[in-house]
Symmetry: C2
Subunit: 374 residues, 2 copies
């Protein structure tokens, strides 16, 4: 059967081993490595689809948990699917709701069958299982959909993590069986196993047997120290198939993105650029600046003098400072736009540096210039 | 001396007497009658300048009171003036702060000199006088600036209204004297006099002697019944010079706009389109709809099937309903965009109907179709 998602490897960086590739999807190609902005509730917060294209967003995420609760997947299906509902004609990826059930859902009860939880919106009882999550994702109709998994807390014991990882593998099997739309939606497996190398290995091996068109690493960047993050990344990424996309979930700080790419990752997503925007922060080539702070009140320069985004071409830090202080939506819009552009620009450069076999040097230069890494 | 603002009368509707004209300003021509969206804090809430142009905003307002308090007029002046600060190259009008001092400022003390009040932002003591308001407006640099006036509450006694109106006239004189930038900014006088015909007449006569390049009617649409509104409009507008722009302050409901134009008004402004947008309401050719309501949850039609705005061309009521329920900024943006377009479209039609000597019939048709008028 024709697969919805295929991966084409173009080049491996001789300096770092990072991968330059293309993911082919029903809604077009994605040049990788790629950063994917998050549109939790069928909108990337504050931005229009046209603006997302202007800042070179190749693919966006949406959250199954949120859309399941509101407006409901059946409504989105009636609207003609998520692409049509939100007026976005490029690729979309939906997560499975697993992560949010554990981070947002209340009073959750996990069983082999699935997870019962209370909606964070109205306290009503809801249930997500592998079958239900896939039903929801099939209704939403994203190009890439994720298997329903359990994302363990950090830290979790070896015993709990093992039990949870094994269940996640069984759930992945059930997701695969439940998936109704293989030709138009590619279902990715999620490698769990917490902070234990042997569990990550077992998870990867068992999921690879299920032959998903792509694989993700879940359950890292959940509060662990950076050394731990790098350690897991380093031993987990090589376990993933070379001929399929590799997705690291929930990562979006510039340094984590670069490290992930060097480890062999193709896709990352994070709410970071839009979330910090709402708090008045801009990512710039010289590090983060909190433009909300009084320092920028009379600063008539652009957010980032190396950036060519709409915000940087037309507005000053002083104006954006004013908008943020005055709780004006345009301030959030300009910062969100700029921050996403900063990360997509970074990935544009990363792709070029991979092709030039120069990503290692680029990383050192970037770290030096960005000033500090958090 | 060359005047910043001149008015050219093109045609008077034979059916109604409504005026079709052009206001020439340093930042370009304004086709009148015109509806002016309000950008209180140097931004029309939620929208970019490009979007305002897309919805045919010919001129926008900004509020002197707000910009005086934050970010401060001296800062805006340093930024190169309001046009440059907010990236808007079409005409701008600033009010004088008079209305806001009375509606937002706390613990105000009015004297002949001016008004002392507490900032609604931080409670600090501030003072606005005719001279100070003009200093602020000169720093902001709008094309049209308004004299500092007192806007009486509704209802107010004859005695108070008279005293206040006479002071407003004295203040207008002081404003004229204080105005430093006559060639680039046109200072308009504001006719007060509350709900008393003789006071309106006296106000108009005295202000006309001061020979301002334009005149406004202030202190109506402040909570009075519609009959009262129409009555004042009917006896005040004919008092205003024919060869100068006539501006009715704070009016934006479709029926009030049409009535104002028929009475001979050229310019109106109101926060209505953006304010009701934030509450989930759309103005449509068949009346207002509260798209936030559950009725629209599964309504896959456009906000208004007669509208060609970006929101109506690309999104359904169901999607906008979802965005508003989920507190997503894009929902406010789409409704704001649409609502302003609705009013600018209305004025486009009004201008054509004046040229066709048909505004009376248009009004009847509009009222019939719009369904209800509030």
């Amino acid at each position: 059967m024709k697969q919805a998602i295929t991966y084409e490897l173009i080049h491996e960086c001789k300096q770092t081993g990072a991968r330059r590739g293309i993911i082919h999807t029903p809604h077009g190609d994605i040049q990788t490595p790629v950063f994917m902005p998050v549109g939790t509730q069928a909108t990337v917060k504050s931005l229009s689809p046209e603006e997302l294209k202007d800042v070179n967003a190749q693919i966006i995420l949406a959250n199954t948990y949120h859309l399941f609760l509101r407006p409901g997947h059946k409504l989105v299906e009636k609207a003609g699917g998520l692409h049509k509902f939100m007026n976005w004609d490029r690729p979309i990826l939906t997560d499975s709701g697993g992560f949010q059930v554990f981070s947002l859902g209340q009073l959750r009860k996990i069983s082999e069958e699935g997870v019962e939880f209370q909606s964070h919106l109205d306290g009503s009882k809801k249930f997500l299982s592998p079958e239900k999550a896939i039903e929801v994702e099939n209704s939403l109709g994203a190009d890439i959909i994720m298997a329903f998994d359990e994302c363990c807390e950090y830290p979790s014991t070896y015993e709990y993590t093992k039990k949870s990882m094994e269940r996640t593998t069984r759930w992945a099997q059930r997701c695969k069986k439940a998936h109704k739309n293989v030709e138009n939606q590619g279902l990715f497996g999620i490698i769990q196993g917490g902070f234990y190398e042997d569990l990550r290995k077992k998870s990867a091996e068992d999921l690879i047997k299920l032959d998903f068109p792509g694989y993700a690493i879940g359950g890292i960047s959940v509060g662990e120290p950076k050394e731990k993050f790098l350690e897991i990344l380093d031993y987990t990424t090589p376990l993933m198939p070379k001929n399929k996309p590799r997705y690291l979930m929930g990562v979006g700080t510039p340094d984590y993105l670069i490290e992930a790419v060097i480890a062999g990752i193709d896709m990352c997503d994070c709410v970071l650029p839009t979330r910090v925007a709402r708090h008045g922060t801009a990512l710039t080539s010289k590090g983060k600046i909190v433009v909300r702070n009084a320092t920028y009140e009379e600063d008539f320069s652009a957010l980032d003098d190396e950036c060519d985004c709409y915000a940087c071409k037309n507005y000053t830090r002083a104006y954006i400072h004013h908008l943020i202080k005055a709780n004006e939506i345009l301030g959030i819009r300009l910062l969100s736009l700029h921050n996403i552009k900063f990360l997509t620009n970074l990935m544009d450069k990363v792709r070029i540096e991979i092709e030039n076999d120069n990503l290692g040097c680029f990383k050192n230069d970037f770290y030096h210039k960005y000033g500090y890494i958090d």
